[in-house]
């Protein structure tokens, strides 16, 4: 059993707050990803769990025990570093077995465990090599192997894929997921890449400016962001967000983006939004995939909008269409067959079942 619990965790560097009070419960065997822009405190949080940084305030519990003052070596954790931190003077086998040798395990057992983990990671033939002789992906595997072989209570990953090229990153992402499915261990994973976060996590924790913005399953975060920051951060291309006004006429609500563009609010949301009618500082959010080319059988609450595309980006399976509304650049994902051309006025379909209304001042999604 190895839950990890953070209680009002605080970290200041010389009066500068890096982490401003984090509460998080990580269940046994859960894969949690901390994601956020650089400087949001995610790596600091991970290093505090590892014991590499002192805690300014709050508590960290691993497996139910407070470990605030326990040194890293006694926390029974394993960490994979951004630049792998393999010992350059040791072979792969020595690197992986270092922790076990320090624990003075019998040689036979060490050899057996290293061989088993090397098998899982497919690095069996590399055991006699030095890190210098390995490719980036192989080093990454060795770094993971060094963590797995110790069979710790918790795995900590600090942006482990950011040094790999794009193709290898996608591949290793899948590998990490496979490994976690085989070796079910509580995992805390830090990344600034929201795609990595979405694909790997059982639960994504979005951090910003030293606080948790929202924690939840990847799809929940994507479809029901709690804050403006999460709405803008999760998803690529990012959610279209622009200022709007909420107008009430004869019991029905309309969001008005500018003089020309306005949409009726779906009837089932009227009750929820009515209180905000006429309020200033509202934002309208709609993901690019909910702005598409015109389709013959439109569903309820889908309504056409006429725009002049400024740029189109063919991606193969879809074409991204960029246009301006109310001075904000918006993006739509259209079927390449629609053949949208820049500068040619065209009709797109907005699916308002997926719209978001955000209060700009508080950053809350309404």
């Amino acid at each position: 059993m190895a839950q990890v619990t953070l209680r009002n965790l605080v970290k200041d560097y010389d009066q500068t707050p890096a982490v401003r009070g984090i509460d998080l419960d990580i269940a046994d065997k859960e894969f949690v990803v901390l994601v956020g822009p650089s400087g949001c405190g995610k790596t600091t949080t991970l290093r505090m769990i590892a014991g590499l940084e002192d805690i300014t305030g709050g508590e960290i519990l691993i497996g139910g025990d407070v470990v605030n003052d326990v040194p890293p070596k006694d926390r029974d954790i394993a960490m994979v570093f951004q630049n792998y931190a393999l010992y350059p003077h040791m072979t792969v086998h020595e690197n992986m077995s270092f922790g076990l040798r320090l624990k003075k395990l019998p040689k036979d057992e060490i050899r057996r465990r290293v061989a088993a983990v090397a098998g899982i990671l497919g690095i069996g033939e590399l055991l006699d090599r030095k890190p210098k002789q390995l490719s980036g992906g192989q080093r990454q595997r060795v770094a993971m192997g060094r963590a797995i072989v110790r069979n710790p209570k918790v795995f900590l990953f600090d942006e482990p894929l950011s040094n790999l090229d794009a193709k290898l990153r996608v591949h290793m992402r899948t590998e990490i997921k496979k490994v976690h499915q085989k070796v079910r261990t509580t995992t805390v994973y830090v990344t600034h890449d929201q795609v990595e976060a979405m694909t790997l996590a059982d639960r994504v924790v979005v951090m910003n400016a030293g606080r948790i913005e929202q924690a939840g399953a990847p799809n929940d975060l994507y479809h029901s962001p709690a804050t403006l920051f999460v709405a803008g951060f999760i998803g690529s291309p990012a959610m279209n967000i622009t200022g709007c006004a909420l107008e009430e006429t004869a019991g029905a609500l309309r969001v008005r983006l500018d003089g020309q563009v306005s949409f009726p609010v779906p009837a089932e949301r009227t009750a929820r939004y009515r209180a905000y009618a006429g309020q200033r500082g509202l934002l309208f959010g709609l993901r690019p995939e909910h702005l598409t080319e015109m389709r013959p059988h439109s569903v309820a609450n889908q309504c056409p909008v006429e725009v002049t595309p400024e740029v189109t980006e063919p991606m193969g399976m879809e074409t991204l269409v960029f246009f301006s509304v109310n001075g904000t650049e918006m993006c739509a994902r259209t079927n390449p067959a629609a053949n949208t051309q820049p500068g040619v006025r065209t009709q797109l379909l907005a699916d308002l079942n997926h719209m978001h209304l955000i209060d700009e001042a508080s950053g809350r999604v309404l």
Binding site: A50, K73, G99, L102
Partner: protein
Amino acid sequence: MANGVVQAAGLSVPRRRRSGRRLARHKSTIAFLMALPLIALIAALVIYPALYSLHLATLNKSMERFVGLGNFAFLFKRELFWMVIKQTVIFALSAVIFKALIGFVVAHFVHNIPAKGQRKWRGMLLVPWVIPPAMSTLAWFWLFDPSYSAFNWVLTRVGLDAVPWLGEPLWARFSVILVNVWYGAPFFLIMYLAALKSVPEQLYEAAAIDGANWWQKIWYITLPMMRNIIAITVLFSLIVTFANFDIVRILTNGGPIDQTHVFATWAFQLGIEGGDLPLGACVSLFMFPILGVAAYFILRDINRRGTEA
């Protein structure tokens, strides 16, 4: 037209190559000419004296007659020669070991001082190394003075006996080594400090997580990562210490009763002061094979590690 392009290209390639080869020849000639003054300087100041001392060592005292290996045979029969070898080895080995140890320990302390104050400490600790050794050794000479020195004054004040620092063979050897360590340790300090800074912090963090205590971190991470630097500094210092002249010359001049002579001071005494240049040259030549063997073993290890990586 396409043909013409191909033809032109086909013509121009070998032409460029030919002129390139001429240029390379030209370049190396220029490079040689530019390096010539330095080569001449090295030849005049290193190669010529080395060959000349080989020649000198085969002459008799008045430098008129060729005696072959006669000087060497003479030296081998003298007890003092063997004593000087023993003393030089003791002097060089113990001084280098202590310099390396002290340099290593102090480098760790300085490394752990926050960056702000570190420059100050680094500068202060380097002072012994930048003072001309002849001057600083004179200062030590006064400190070691048997009747009026600071050391003995302190010792007698706390109720201990005065120590004949330079008057008794054992103490004299100790003093000479002490001054050499004082003078040479900062060199190790600065080299080790640079090496320590080049060890990535994350390796220590990884080791801490793997369960290493501070001693295990030094043993399994720091030392292996610094091995090459340690080997090179030790070799370099061994050469310099082996050939030390100024400290021994000023502090004891080989005394008492020749018990602190090292190769350089004894060669100086025999050759310059004693007027037997061939014998002096002969003594100084002995440093070469001994250091050669040490260099071979130390550098072999570095090469092996260099190629395996």
